[in-house]
């Protein structure tokens, strides 16, 4: 099987969908000509293949980029626009939250808004808190938006293809750190369903629910714990909205123990939603308290020592698991 980084997987998904449907176009800052010439990046080479009609470099105008997507989607195109880094989504958030998410409802179901907003996220590249700020919990708290956050190149490809074909607005969050971590991606065409979590590692002792870049941390922790005879079930949500509560509950009913792991800051993070769902529907099967392993409630600091402190690591996960065994 081909080994691709997540950026390359995204690139393949864009390429395939753009070949398949001429109503798909991409737009954003540097999606055509960018400052990097790097085959690991998601939009490399698309301008060359599809031309400047369909690959649109925009000014630094996030509200206009998102508005372009919303208006063009209503008119029947399938925009895939990029917001360069997660914190800049604030600048587009009126268009996303008050328009992409709501205009269909406001139309009484007459219009639809088949658009994808790709956004890069994640700490780890030393740029500090105005570039690194995980905000998936915000977007998940906005009815009308689907929210997808893949953890592997294969899922990224399959989910992005589904997102582009979805008739609803989809926020597609790519952790930059995963661009440089190759993984297997099937060669043949496939779609990964939005709204289906994936048990990435089965285990009977504790359920470790996570998504995005933290999957790697989850694996490392699971391996260490396996050496102690503790079998961790790693559930990769992949989509936050719709949330696959069935898969979460099934796992927790089996293990009776739950740890939720995310890179975003703790208070108000999406771990809260996961724990509420479990506490509502599987309370009787729970054998131990919840543990959350998350970023601390601080902005992401720039300095390497501080940034490492910010990012949850397997040590913290191992400790959390041990605490509730």
């Amino acid at each position: 099987m081909q080994q691709l980084g997540m950026g390359q997987a995204v690139n393949q998904a864009l390429r395939e969908e753009m070949r398949r449907n001429s109503e798909v176009f991409i737009a954003g800052e540097g999606v055509g000509v960018g400052i990097h010439v790097n085959p690991m990046f998601p939009t490399t080479g698309l301008l060359e293949e599809f031309g400047s009609k369909r690959v649109r470099d925009t000014p630094v105008s996030e509200a206009a980029i998102a508005g372009l997507a919303v208006g063009a989607a209503e008119a029947g195109l399938r925009p895939v626009v990029e917001i360069m880094f997660n914190p800049f989504i604030t600048l587009a958030s009126d268009m996303i939250v008050n328009h992409a998410a709501k205009l269909r409802y406001l139309s009484g179901g007459k219009s639809s808004f088949p658009l994808v907003i790709r956004v890069k996220t994640g700490a780890g590249f030393g740029a500090g808190c105005q570039h690194s700020h995980n905000l998936e919990a915000w977007l998940a708290h906005c009815p009308g938006l689907k929210v997808v956050m893949p953890a592997t190149p294969a899922d990224a490809k399959g989910l992005l293809k589904s997102a582009i074909r979805d008739d609803n607005p989809v926020i597609f969050i790519e952790d930059m750190m995963l661009y440089f971590a190759p993984g297997p991606v099937p060669e043949e065409e496939y779609l990964t369903p939005i709204g289906k979590a994936d048990v990435k590692r089965p285990g009977g002792d504790v359920s470790l629910v996570t998504w995005g870049n933290m999957l790697g941390v989850a694996f490392k922790a699971a391996e260490r714990l396996a050496q102690e005879g503790v079998e961790v079930e790693v559930v990769d949500l992949r989509s936050l909205v719709p949330l696959d509560t069935e898969t979460i509950l099934e796992s927790v009913r089996k293990t009776g123990r739950l740890v939720v792991l995310h890179e975003a800051t703790r208070t108000g993070g999406f771990a809260g939603e996961v724990s509420a769902v479990v506490m509502e529907h599987a309370f009787g099967e729970l054998k131990a308290p919840l543990r959350r392993v998350t970023g601390p409630d601080i902005p992401v600091p720039a300095s390497p020592t501080l940034e490492r402190f910010y990012i949850p690591d397997e040590e913290q996960v191992v400790t959390a698991v041990r605490e509730i065994l």
């Binding site: 508005g67 008050n98 406001l106 007459k110 009308g144």
Partner: protein
């Protein structure tokens, strides 16, 4: 510019219809609780929507805002469906989900209405982009207020539309107020149209109470747009004869100012013109008025007789499947 008499009569009709519509709503608002929500009308500003929409073809798109009724009626929206939506009934054009503030009428190519001030402009850019992408012979018009011209979205939208030469016409309905703020209290820019130069696009100031002038300007900018020459910023100077909403006592609008602008009402202005040219008779005007009133009465009856949506319908229409 030579404007066909049929066009002129069409504009007179849509203005009369809009006025009957808003006068009726204004009256209805005097009975507390009869119509739900805020009531935002364009009494006195009808020439903008009528002049603009008369210059458009049905396939052209409009994007409008919180003060939308006259735009939508001029674009051909069904008064019954509008009124029922304003009443928040299940027969409304948006099944009661929208109410008066974000009426969406895709049937007449008025699909994107936002009550977030300034938000229409980027949406219109998206619509116009789709038209250009598909090489259609259609344009998009975006209606917005003078207050909206201070939002960041105005700036980003105009720059992008100019850069890509999109077929969009930005129609600023400068009614001298944004909420309780007079124009001079929210900007020092003499005319909103003065901002056009900053985007290297044409900016034009037009008498927004002269429906023929609005029609002529729009026709010209539409041709530019279709010729691939890009957007125009058209500022229509008009006046908000009522308060911001019907519950606004207009305490900050000088009475003399209101009186003087009422004297510049666009409807007699056009009808006098048509009468003088012998293109219409007083009886015909009275007929139009009677017809408009009847249509609005019918719309109100329809709306009042219609049921509210069932509570659980609230859960519908979030997702497309």
């Amino acid at each position: 510019m030579q404007i066909p008499v049929e066009k002129k009569r069409e504009m007179l009709w849509t203005m009369i219809l809009s006025r009957a519509f808003s006068d009726t709503l204004s009256e209805l608002c005097k009975t507390q609780g009869r119509v739900p929500g805020m009531m935002i009308l364009s009494t006195g500003q009808e020439a903008v929507g009528s002049g603009v929409c008369a210059a458009l073809l049905p396939e052209d798109v409009i994007v409008t805002n919180h003060r939308s009724h006259s735009h939508l009626l001029a674009k051909g929206a069904d008064p019954r469906a509008l009124m029922a939506e304003i009443y928040c009934k299940s027969t409304g054009c948006n099944k009661g989900k929208s109410g008066t503030l974000h009426l969406a009428v895709p049937e007449v190519n008025a699909p994107c209405t936002s009550t977030v001030v300034g938000a229409g402009l980027p949406l219109a850019v998206g619509q116009a982009f789709a038209q250009q992408y598909r090489e259609e012979r259609r344009v998009t018009v975006c209606f917005f207020g003078d207050g909206a011209a201070d939002e960041g979205s105005f700036h980003e939208a105009l720059n992008l539309a100019s850069l890509w030469r999109l077929p969009v016409i930005f129609v600023c309905e400068n009614n001298l107020y944004a909420g309780a703020q007079r124009y001079e209290e929210h900007t020092r820019t003499r005319h909103v149209a003065d901002r056009a130069e900053g985007y290297a696009i044409p900016g034009e100031v037009v008498d927004g109470n002269d429906v023929l002038a609005v029609y002529a300007s729009l026709t010209k900018s539409r041709q530019r747009a279709l010729a691939g020459e890009g957007p125009t910023l058209l500022e229509c100077k008009t006046y908000r004869c009522h308060g911001h909403s019907e519950s606004d006592p207009q305490h900050y609008q000088p009475e003399e100012e209101i009186r003087s602008w009422r004297g510049k009402c666009p409807i007699p202005r056009l009808s006098d013109n048509l009468l003088a040219e012998g293109r219409i008779t007083r009886d015909e005007i009275r007929e139009m008025q009677a017809k408009a009133e009847a249509m609005v009465r019918d719309a109100v009856s329809f709306a009042e007789a219609s049921p509210y949506p069932l509570a659980e319908e609230a859960l519908e229409d979030v997702w497309a499947d």
